[in-house]
Subunit: 611 residues, 2 copies
Amino acid sequence: MNYVYQFALPPEITLGHYLLHRLRQLGVHTIFGLPGEFNMPLLDQIYTIPQMVWAGNTNELNAAYAADGYSRIKRLGCLVTTFGVGELSAVNGVAGSFAEHVGLVHVVGMPPLSAQVKQLLLHHTLGNGDFKVFNRLGSDVADYTTVLNDVDTATEEIDKSLRIAFTRQRPVYVGIPLNMINTVVSSSLLNTPLDLRPALRNEEVENEFIDKVLSAIYKSENPAIIADACVSRHGLVEEMQQLVELTKFPVFCTPMGKGSVDEQHPRFGGTFLGSISSPQVREVVDFSDFILVVGALLSDFSTSSFHFAYRTKNTVLLFSNHAKLKNASYPDLELKVALKVLLSKLDPSRIRYRPQEFSDVLKPKLHLMNNVPLRQEWIWSQLTSWFNPGDIVITETGTSAFGINQSKFPSRTRCISQALWGSVGYSVGACLGASFAAREEGSNPRVILFVGDGALQLTVQEISTMIRWGLKPIIFLMNNGGYTIDRLLHKKSNAGYQDIQSWDNLKILPTFGASYYDTRKVRTVGDFLALISDPGFAINDKIKMVEVVLPPMDAPPALMEKWLLEDKPVRLLESPANESPAEGPTAKRARLDGQFGIDYDDMDGNVNSVQ
Amino acid sequence: MNYVYQFALPPEITLGHYLLHRLRQLGVHTIFGLPGEFNMPLLDQIYTIPQMVWAGNTNELNAAYAADGYSRIKRLGCLVTTFGVGELSAVNGVAGSFAEHVGLVHVVGMPPLSAQVKQLLLHHTLGNGDFKVFNRLGSDVADYTTVLNDVDTATEEIDKSLRIAFTRQRPVYVGIPLNMINTVVSSSLLNTPLDLRPALRNEEVENEFIDKVLSAIYKSENPAIIADACVSRHGLVEEMQQLVELTKFPVFCTPMGKGSVDEQHPRFGGTFLGSISSPQVREVVDFSDFILVVGALLSDFSTSSFHFAYRTKNTVLLFSNHAKLKNASYPDLELKVALKVLLSKLDPSRIRYRPQEFSDVLKPKLHLMNNVPLRQEWIWSQLTSWFNPGDIVITETGTSAFGINQSKFPSRTRCISQALWGSVGYSVGACLGASFAAREEGSNPRVILFVGDGALQLTVQEISTMIRWGLKPIIFLMNNGGYTIDRLLHKKSNAGYQDIQSWDNLKILPTFGASYYDTRKVRTVGDFLALISDPGFAINDKIKMVEVVLPPMDAPPALMEKWLLEDKPVRLLESPANESPAEGPTAKRARLDGQFGIDYDDMDGNVNSVQ
């Protein structure tokens, strides 16, 4: 990110320009959204900012997903919608950014103040003269909400909003009335980079907390570090790496933390999926005497039913802006600060733990005949060798979000999924945003999307925007004939509402106007081996879509076991009642294996402690 | 609608069944939405209800549009979504139903109470333990909100919600926790039809109001009746007709009221577009001494800038649940009641007005050579002869919503557009809903959709659902190369953000899996004449798509004039300051012609009086 601005600005500029230049300073070069009557003058100004692009999405929800995906690579994204219809169409996408801690600036073009004051029955209003309703709706999924209707404070408000979005990695809502867009303001603040330092620090608290953490680290004999979502959100992948280097502790990632640790590192132990983790992972995590969760954003998916919710006695949780040690909470302690202080104070010589070798987390690959139909269990482990350093891998909520955990990433691979919010169709919009971000990197990393046939139907038209801009993602369309994840979760493989209209998927690219593209269809092990051994296919020189034909009830091992073993209503989390301290590891694992999942009637209040 | 139920129910049924049977009694045979973890058990039950269908949409926003379109024909629609991601994706569609007075039941499958009480960090939550947030969001766009978590009151709550949705023609939000769906309740209430009579009446108020209206009617010398949106919403098209028969007053419709008066009736004077109405319409309405607006739902679109907002001294407004006479308000007076009492008391012999002939509202058709490229001005008047009685005509927010007003409908033609809320892409979802409703009618009326190339891209995948169900709409894709309506409103024909990715539109049907379909492309007057004179094309025997190629800056006359004449920022409404009583008709029209439109800096507080 460049904080030094390359070109001089006139002393007075429009408020719209001020907002755009600030975004540009924070590395936002692509703006997502749709034009609307109340934001068009702002869009006009985007075209006047050097190296800034108006993406022009096909609908607002897709635009929100795109801004979110862009932010997950660049740490800040911007979405511009119009009052009412536009902002409401985007609200689910913004809610996802809120739930998953993604930095997003949602700019909403609003009617002029005069119209609001007079409560005109404008179109795009509910007809009840309530102009604040949408703003209210937006506030529920934003960390900060402002409407720029005071020229004297507007630039400060913009700075405050952007700072919150970036440092807290949350959405902010910035309403700009039509009559304010071209209002003239001073550009002077732009000469000073936006202050992105952590909020006011309390060194006494930091020292007390870190000293306690250190003593736990020093005396632990079976430790484990787990990287969760907020490591990458706050750009702390390198610090994470240093922590592993210094401690030599085994390190794992949650599904949401995948991509935030180097999976090629000898201390990498695999992906922690709670009770549905691989035995090798469970062996280390379940029986560790100390767990340090960095960038914690625990969800029932990422920890499969809060698996260690009732083990907090041994757990240190570093959340994005607070921390927990055993049962003690430390509010207002930012992740970045905590990690920095921890690294500066850590004395490796005092660590008791001696590194033990552990087996590779990936099961030996199945060896199948070329004519065998494809199965996800086999595909995901095959992909391990096909991924490249620097790849951006996007998976859809559904089977692919589970399957990707069977793949071991090269160094510096980045991963995008929406495990907590889990809005189906997200990945297609996110792929557009990530593709813009990748293009801005210059190193031209590959963007690889895995999306199911069911999920694709929700947001398919955003592929058109990829084509329009000549973006070159490689799209794996996992076609298993409907909503397989729901078939599994609901334990009904044959419910009519899980079926979808069958599309001629490989016609999608040309229908949306692609002239330079690559489409393929693979059905068998032989087909797939030929595909991933084709060097031409591996290059991101054009947009590509591979339709991967799979059986309707096929899924990655973890999900399959879940489904096959399950004999009762799906369960949300384990009851601690089942957790007997006296119980030995084998007995325990046998029991847990039969019990993971969801039970809506039998739940554990303790899980509050992970929040 | 049948209120007598054909088949006996067991004394005890599940709560889910209760809800579905009540909907079924009110004529709801098709349920729209998507499956989700928290609503699947309810969907299972839909398959057990005779003559009830789960449509299975491609995304929730489209599903909301579809339920809205269905309701505009059947007077009630039902949308089922899942907690969080599902309901938030639909909120813009539900807001449209709220703004435009459309009866809608939004059923949301929620997590079980136990989970909510314990504030688990579930997926599909914001991660802050706030389970009420979505419910709150929903409440802002619903007339009534309930969550069925008390088995003792659940059936009464369902009845109350459905009654409100139907009688007030507004959305209601019904949350049903997963653990309640299969809870057993008594079916006894279902033996009694839901009471849909108007709320408690006050005859004194009714008589006082109607007597005043009657005296105004009797002494008027230049009267006009205007039918607005709520006439068809509340199923009062016949009563409307009677009113015209008895008074012989000239009758007009607003764009939102189009289809609620018989345009073949000799007293039909055309569509009232406020200041951009045709001169013939202006001649009557602008200078009438009495205006009766039935089913009023005034918007700046439907009355072009509140054109008669400052003429309320001469206006009686019958809103759906209140009324205004001159400056006096009559709350709690329902449209249905007011119209009924008015008709019962009206004595035609006391009417002073003597019917005058007026010229046909439609300009004589242009006669163009066959090789001339198509223009909307010509197309819309040509379509007049192509429409059939009973047709359901759907137009998109944009040029087609304006253009349709150039067409004169046969009797019993129905029209769907979203003039007030104006959410782009609405028409495609609405077309699906209307197509289901049409199929249920048995008479197999045609469903005809006019949608622009820009709008289509927001919601295109819902065409897949039409194909899946073998529905047979006739789709006119008005391809003018981008967001023409915005080009006109924003006065920038060349803004990059008005361009869209060019699609191979006629490939859409086969790509979405259609095998039996008809696609055509028309570019010239000759092409179009051949199309509408082809009897084979006119039959709705399969799904059809015609791509109508138009110049980017072409638009219906009203819009074109607006654009060409406009010399200043678009204006929202006329200032009454410009309205001098002394001014003569010609001078006034000349001035108005130069002034209609939007002015954000110069507005009239009086317009509150139309709300």
